[in-house]
């Protein structure tokens, strides 16, 4: 799905299992926390969780603003 979107629009793939994202052809990849809750962590307080989520989304926006020529995993 990510490949079809990439044909026309820049897309950042936020997912937990990076190798799968690479296999299906995503070019901008942001690793996330866990499969059942990629952008959250139930063991944290709601505020901590939202801050965690914000950090990941900001990294995604940074990825969208970065020129790349090949598959890139944004870890910070």
């Amino acid at each position: 799905m990510v490949k079809e979107i990439e044909r026309k629009l820049p897309v950042v793939h936020m997912c937990t299992i990076v190798p799968i994202s690479q296999t299906v052809g995503a070019n901008r990849i942001v690793p996330t926390i866990a499969i059942p809750h990629p952008l959250g962590n139930p063991s944290k307080t709601p505020e901590e969780e939202k801050a965690l989520r914000r950090g990941l989304v900001e990294r995604a926006l940074k990825a969208l603003q970065t020129e790349i020529t090949e598959q890139t995993v944004f870890t910070e």
């Binding site: 799905m1 990439e6 629009l9 820049p10 897309v11 793939h13 052809g25 070019n27 969780e49 989304v57």
Partner: protein, 348 residues
């Protein structure tokens, strides 16, 4: 006695109109219409087009079940010996409609069903296992080449003649494995292939391992402050109660939902349809999969121009490569039409 063929075409090839007529409801006309003429010529009397079904691409896409049932009923009276749809070249919705009708006709009447498409057409991946799809160029310029090949394959299937390999007959490999006795023992064939590989010679593997191809990255977003960001997820997040009944695995559809005025996804309003992971945490707070709350903050703070008012969702669990391809193509078309700048795709 000539074979009886029913031909399926869309509103454009029937000369009714383009996009503006894409909601044309199914109609059947006796005899030949549009590209049917070329087919008739190619049949040289061995087969004749007894009726042509015409249906608008948009109508078919949004009323697939009803359209299919209505068309099957229309076709029944003409007692066809074979069904030909298209050729659709690289037209996505037309190709998907041709494929879907071929699938339905072959299941209902058990007769040969043939279409013609460009390999990249989403209809190919979705229906190559239920229909014979002749490989065509990506535009109608290829009509002169596509039609004779479709006619020839149709006649071969009708006469029950043995078929050559996909490349010999000109159809796209359907991915169905059939047993056959070779000349040599499998052991000897394996050692032959081994020697060819060692010597760097070309060889044809007997079984192709599934492998993924690549797409080049898009250029970066220059002006994030005025960018329209859209959210798409394969994590199955949808309004409470899953109104469109997106399947928990091998999803056959995707959902489009409006989030105008929605600043936070709560357990009362949103849930997950996904069957591929423990849904407790997503059901408690769907923001853990679809970060609407954070993106609304970023929108308010002017970091991004706007969060697109619609998000798209499907269940990326066992969804076939074909469906994933179809959803992606359809979703990105709608986003481009809505002026979206870039997409955040979340997966579980």
């Amino acid at each position: 006695m000539a074979f009886r063929i029913v031909h399926y075409i869309n509103q454009f090839y029937a000369g009714i109109g383009g996009e503006e007529k894409a909601d044309y409801t199914p109609e059947i006309r006796a005899g030949v219409v549009g590209p049917g003429m070329a087919l008739k010529g190619a049949f040289k009397g061995e087969a004749e087009i007894v009726a042509t079904v015409i249906c608008g691409d948009s109508y078919f896409a949004s009323n697939m079940d009803k359209a299919t049932a209505d068309i099957l009923a229309m076709i029944k009276e003409y007692k066809p010996d074979a069904f030909i749809a298209g050729p659709a070249f690289n037209a996505g919705r037309y190709g998907t409609a041709c494929g879907a009708m071929c699938d339905a006709v072959s299941k209902e009447f058990g007769i040969p069903v043939i279409s013609g498409m460009y390999p990249e057409n989403p209809g190919v991946e979705m229906y190559k296992k239920s229909a014979w799809i002749i490989e065509t160029p990506d535009s109608a310029a290829g009509m002169r080449k596509a039609v004779p090949a479709m006619a020839k394959l149709a006649l071969k299937l009708l006469k029950g003649e043995a078929l050559g390999s996909p490349s010999e007959e000109g159809y796209i490999e359907r991915g169905i494995r059939k047993n056959m006795f070779y000349e040599k023992l499998a052991a000897e064939r394996c050692v032959d292939m081994f020697v060819a590989k060692l010597k760097g010679e070309t060889f044809g593997t007997e079984y192709k391992m599934p492998v993924f191809d690549r797409v080049d990255p898009q250029p970066a977003v220059k002006d994030m402050k005025n960018a329209v960001i859209a959210l798409v997820t394969s994590g199955g997040i949808c309004p409470k109660g899953n109104p469109d009944h997106i399947e928990a695995s091998s999803a056959s559809k995707f959902g489009e939902y409006d989030i105008t005025g929605v600043n936070d996804l709560t357990s009362e309003t949103y849930c997950t349809a996904h069957g591929g992971y423990d849904a407790t945490y997503a059901d408690q707070d769907a923001d853990r999969v679809l970060p609407v709350d954070v993106l609304r903050d970023l929108e308010r703070e002017g970091v991004i121009g706007k969060l697109h008012n619609k998000f798209y969702t499907t269940v990326g669990n066992g969804t076939s490569v074909a469906n994933a391809k179809k959803f992606g193509a359809e979703i990105v078309n709608r986003l481009v039409n809505d002026g979206v700048t870039a997409v955040i795709l979340t997966s579980t």
